[in-house]
């Protein structure tokens, strides 16, 4: 009897100890970022439920719960956001519109802002699959948008409106995505939605169309972004990304490719369909030697590597997650096979840059590569990151979130004096429809053209980033590659 009791106690201790010792409280980077961006408010934002927070009261020295007041002064590089002022140095770029209404606002570059009258908060809702395997790739979009909101509020908000970002995690479930959008619009009064819903766009689209709520920026993987008039993408479609990185591979001497695509997720097979069956790679100058399905649960890709090598492929396109990209690099290297690797930005992280097997790995991105620098718009991004989330593992998701925020801001600023009144979804659509041939100060590869009653028309231009000398770096001198 005593022996049995001892066994039970040992079992419980052994179950509890390793898990307790190794993990409790050690893994909250996402929440920490959001907390930082929210001025230290309780980190509860990235999933499930909404987070009211992230608003700044310009000129005020105190903040309500969840209010962002990183300091009493504006960010050092933060510059004025003047509605209708066109291209301005720093955070806000592009666009045209009416001038600043007299008496509404006084703003000066590099200083705090004062508004004669504080506008009501503008709620920008965000819904997406921020947990699970997909969340591991795009979860940082929450951080990117929160940081944008914090930086924007620190310089007076948008046209004297503080910005509130509410984020909801749909967990990859269509029902949760639909419910989340309804909640954001009906309960939180969001005037626009930011959607990172690579597998749940079907959940939100009917509601969006029925209520005419603009979807401003997001993952851009679903066809709805380019066929639905209520979707306003911050860049070109997946086809453009596939073309750009294929073209980049050709410029690096690539001639033949094999696509390793996962069998578990439909975005993988969609990519294979576009690249090979629709001939996008061929259009860029790459010749297919045979695509190979892989399982995300697979533990060894030696065979796929050797087969591609034997067929003369000098380019491997990987349509799978981060861990599969790493494993493929390892197994191909073990066969002395070092092709040019191409992947989608969702399949990479910063940690890969020091992997000797993945040197030369290239990705495409419709918005700026997260490590790019050299323009005022990019400087504003990096300064905000350093200020509000210095420990964030920067990634493509954060850049996409930030760019979405910039697009949203541009739309409202385009309203001119009307931007100082109450903003509705219809106003946002109106402002978006005024965006023509705008690349948001170089934040996006192509020029954006939106219409009130038609899907977006876009330049299919995409930035490419590559791992070079243990660092991610913009390829092609930071110039985008455009699909003809």
């Amino acid at each position: 009897m005593k022996q049995r009791q001892r066994a039970k106690i040992a079992a419980i201790v052994a179950l509890a100890l390793p898990l307790a010792l190794t993990s409790c409280g050690t893994r909250l980077p996402h929440s920490a970022v959001v907390a930082a961006a929210d001025g230290g408010a309780a980190p509860s934002s990235n999933s499930g439920g909404t987070t009211a927070g992230g608003v700044t009261t310009p000129g005020a020295s105190t903040s309500a719960p969840g209010v962002t007041t990183p300091s009493s002064s504006a960010p050092t590089t933060g510059t004025s956001i003047v509605p209708g002022s066109g291209e301005s140095p720093g955070k806000t770029t592009g666009g045209s519109g009416a001038g600043t209404p007299a008496g509404q606002q006084t703003q000066a570059a590099g200083t705090s802002h004062t508004c004669a009258k504080q506008g009501s908060p503008i709620v920008y809702g965000q819904v997406g699959t921020f947990s699970g395997i997909i969340g591991g790739s795009i979860g940082s979009a929450v951080d990117g948008l929160k940081i944008w909101a914090a930086a924007t509020n620190a310089v007076g908000g948008i046209a004297c409106h503080p910005v509130v970002v509410d984020s909801i995690d749909d967990g990859g479930d269509n029902g949760s995505a639909q419910s989340g959008v309804e909640q954001l619009v009906q309960d939180d009064h969001a005037v626009a939605i930011n959607a990172f819903t690579p597998i749940t766009t079907a959940g939100i689209e009917p509601y969006i169309d029925q209520h005419r709520v603009p979807v401003v920026g997001g993952d851009l993987l679903s066809s709805a972004w380019y066929t639905d008039k209520n979707f306003f993408p911050q860049g070109g479609p997946l086809q453009a990304v596939l073309y750009a990185i294929s073209r980049y591979a050709v410029l690096q001497g690539g001639t033949k490719y094999s696509f390793f695509y996962c069998i578990e997720a439909s975005p993988c097979t969609q990519g294979e369909n576009m690249l090979t069956k629709q001939g996008i790679a061929a259009k860029a100058g790459l010749h297919a030697v045979g695509d190979q399905p892989i399982s995300l649960a697979g533990s060894n890709f030696t065979q796929q590597c050797a087969t591609a090598k034997s067929k003369g492929a000098n380019v491997i396109f990987i349509g799978a997650g981060v861990s599969a990209v790493n494993a493929i690099g390892r197994d191909c290297a073990s066969q002395n096979y070092h092709p040019i690797y191409l992947a989608l930005s969702l399949g990479v992280t910063n940690s890969q840059q020091s992997d000797p097997n993945l040197q030369g790995l290239a990705i495409g991105s419709v918005q700026f590569p997260w490590m790019a620098t050299g323009t005022p718009a990019l400087t504003a991004y990096h300064d905000a990151l350093a200020r509000y989330a210095p420990t964030l593992d920067d990634s493509g998701g954060a850049a996409a979130g930030w760019t979405s925020g910039e697009l949203f801001e541009r739309a409202i600023l385009n309203l001119g004096s009307a931007a100082y009144g109450n903003i509705t979804s219809a106003d946002v659509i109106k402002g978006l429809a005024m965006i023509h041939n705008n690349n948001l100060g170089g934040l996006v590869g192509g020029h954006l053209n939106f219409h009130a009653n038609a899907p977006a028309t876009l330049d299919s231009c995409v930035f490419v980033a590559v791992i070079s000398k243990d660092k991610w770096a913009p390829a092609q001198g930071g110039r985008a590659i455009c699909e003809p």
Partner: protein
């Protein structure tokens, strides 16, 4: 690639991958043959060990050397988990096979989720190869690395060691005998409990070892991926008829080689490239086909076989039950009024799921069968509906009916293993079938294809969320009536007899095989209807909407609710737990914890089915209540209350 190089490559890839399958399969077979419990959660145990390894090894966590981390996760964590599972297995020894499966599915959910909860994320945790990875030698032009060599050697050494252990040690001989006759073992001076405990400790140590070997090969610690990979080992276990350890090792290697060969053939032969998805799924194909072709006499259930109890008659009168059911529908009809807005979509999903749970209940609860591919049946029905309604432009109701009917042949295919196999092997066969359906057929153009989704039109006048909800409620009511009629009919009695006493049924001249085929077909029909209704909620659906893994969760929830409730209330509560609860509790932590709670619930339900604890109490209460109802006092009281009633005790007759 030359012939020699090609087959050198197949050999290297196949043997390495196969060795990993072999380690997992041997652990599985060891525990099954010594305890009679086939652990569906073996992969989840491997995942839990990998999480422990990550916690001790990762520089972001404790940062110990990999040797210490491996020792802790394999030699401490593994055996201790074995002790725990032996306790569970001992209690599950007295439950019917269906509930054994439910119990281990519960274990799967618990262990799979525990690591995610501990690290507060269900995303992958990056883990690089820690074994030496340099080139060791080459086989026909294919380089072999040290970590591959180590993996192969470990698997081989374990196989040889286990063989010698069972062949020559007294403890090993005891393990072989303990399942057949523990009392006899006891008389020889061995403690059967001790023998089982050691067997479980070895089995889970194998699982832990496979976990820490596989995770770095996958490039990450990921509970879902590890769980699925060890499910591949089920295919390897077929070769040893789930009982032979040496053959399980051989099976692992053979499955690895088959996988490598299919990968090779489909990639080099242009005519076979459309079949390229068969390669990664080779273990599931081996599992399903193996269970179809292996002689029935070889697939013998290990351990004591406990008959499923026929579902007991309701204690309530038909009128009372009807009133309760009508009341439940009235409450469901009020949902759009009470839960209008953002939450209605969860209730709409629940409507579709009620039909699915009714379908599953008919199989599991009424007829004692098992299905681990019910989501796949729903997907088939959904696709059929889309083709009929959106492409053939059939009227909505006709398309719905046709969708259900087109799912029936698929149900009949699943019934083939049901005819010849017992519950465990049926569960395994349906799991393999569901995985194949999801990973091979979903992506074909005649199913979902590579597009973003396929359309699911709603009927005229029901385009709004509320009207469509009420339409689904009507169909739920029709499905509930259909199931109630079946349960009360001769067919229902036959189904209960299939669960309770199939031999007696055969003696009476009824065909057990035909009855099983019929119940699978009816269940498939309802599952197909459920899939069609589900797609209409969003107007579109894609493969992500029908993840095959959710079939395990469905079974776990079904078992939980069916323990306490009867057919319709069990289905309604199960659907609410499955679809609605998570929608109301918006917390990332709760999202992580919910599957674990389902797992705990399933395990509890399985343990209760052993006739101990709360389950026994309910049973006792029911019996006593029946006794009181039959007593002369009760009869007189009934007569006083209903003097003109000719049958004073209608409540104890029939089945809801």
């Amino acid at each position: 690639m030359s012939f020699a190089n090609a087959y050198g490559l197949i050999l290297v890839s196949g043997v390495e991958v196969g060795s990993i399958y072999a380690i997992a399969a041997m652990g599985l077979v060891l525990t099954y043959k010594t305890s009679g419990l086939f652990n569906f959660g073996q992969g989840a145990v491997a995942a839990a060990a990998a999480y422990v390894f990550y916690g001790f090894y990762s520089p972001q966590e404790l940062g110990l050397s990999w040797t210490y981390a491996a020792l802790i996760s394999v030699l401490i964590f593994g055996p201790v988990i074995g002790l725990v599972l032996e306790l569970v297995a001992r209690r599950l020894a007295d439950v019917p096979i269906t509930y054994k499966i439910v119990g281990t599915v519960g274990l799967l959910l618990i262990f799979r989720q525990a690591g995610s909860i501990a690290f507060n994320t269900d995303a992958s945790l990056p883990l690089a190869v820690y074994l030496p990875h340099g080139r060791a030698f080459a086989v026909s032009g294919t380089n072999v690395t040290y970590d591959q060599v180590i993996t192969v050697l470990i698997a081989f050494a374990l196989a040889v060691g286990l063989y010698l252990f069972f062949r020559y040690s007294r403890l090993g001989t005891g393990m072989r005998a303990v399942v057949d006759d523990p009392a006899l073992i006891d008389m020889t001076g061995h403690n059967p409990a001790h023998i089982r405990r050691v067997a479980w400790m070895i089995g889970t140590t194998f699982a832990a070892l496979s976990g820490i070997l596989i995770a770095p090969q996958q490039g990450a610690v990921d509970g879902s991926l590890l769980t699925i990979l060890v499910v591949y080992a089920f295919g390897a276990a077929v070769f040893g008829y789930f009982r032979s350890l040496p053959l399980a090792y051989v099976g692992g290697i053979v499955v690895g080689l088959i996988q490598a060969w299919v990968n090779h053939e489909t990639s080099v032969r242009s005519g076979l490239q459309s079949l390229s998805q068969l390669g990664p799924n080779a273990p599931f194909i081996v599992l399903f086909i193996g269970l179809l072709v292996v002689p029935k006499r070889r697939l013998v259930d290990v351990g004591r076989q406990v008959k499923a109890k026929a579902s007991s008659p309701s204690q309530l009168a038909l009128r009372t039950r009807s009133s309760i059911n009508i009341g439940m529908f009235a409450v469901l009809a009020l949902v759009p009024v009470i839960a209008s807005g953002p939450k209605l979509v969860f209730w709409s999903e629940a409507m579709s799921s009620i039909v699915l749970f009714l379908s599953l209940g008919l199989l599991v609860r009424t007829s004692g069968q098992v299905s681990l591919c019910h989501i796949g049946l729903a997907a088939v029905g959904g696709v059929a509906f889309s083709k009929m309604a959106a492409e053939q432009h059939l009227p909505w109701a006709v398309a719905l009916l046709v969708a259900g009917l087109l799912t029936v042949p698929v149900g009949a295919i699943i019934a083939i293993p049901a005819i010849r196999l017992s519950g465990l092997y049926l569960g395994l066969a349906t799991l393999g079938f569901g995985a194949l359906l999801a990973q091979v057929f979903y992506l074909q153009t005649w199913m979902f294809g590579p597009a973003n989704g396929i359309p699911f039109p709603r009927p005229e006048g029901f385009s709004g969320a509320k009207p469509y909800y009420y339409l689904m409620l009507l169909i739920v009511a029709l499905a509930a009536v259909l199931v109630a009629v079946i349960e009360r009919s001769r067919l229902g009695r036959l189904l209960r007899a299939v669960a309770d006493a199939p031999t007696a049924l055969t003696v009476l001249g009824a065909s057990v095989a035909t009855t099983r085929v019929i119940v699978f077909c009816i269940s498939a029909f309802l599952a197909g209807i459920s899939g069609a209704l589900f797609g209409g909620i969003f107007g579109t659906a894609d493969p992500n909407s029908f993840s095959f893994f959710n079939s395990l969760i469905l079974l776990a929830i079904m078992a939980l609710t069916a323990t306490f409730l009867r057919t319709l209330p069990a289905a309604i509560l199960a659907a609410i737990l499955y679809e609605v609860v998570g929608g109301y509790i918006n917390s990332p932590r709760f999202t992580l914890v919910l599957p674990l709670l389902f797992g705990v619930g399933a395990l509890t339900a399985a343990l209760l089915s052993a006739g101990t604890g709360v389950g026994a109490w309910f049973e006792r209460e029911a019996r006593e209540s029946r006794g009181r109802a039959r007593s002369p006092v009760a009869a007189r009281r009934q007569q006083r209350r209903f003097p003109h009633h000719t049958n004073p005790l209608p409540a104890i007759r029939g089945e809801s």
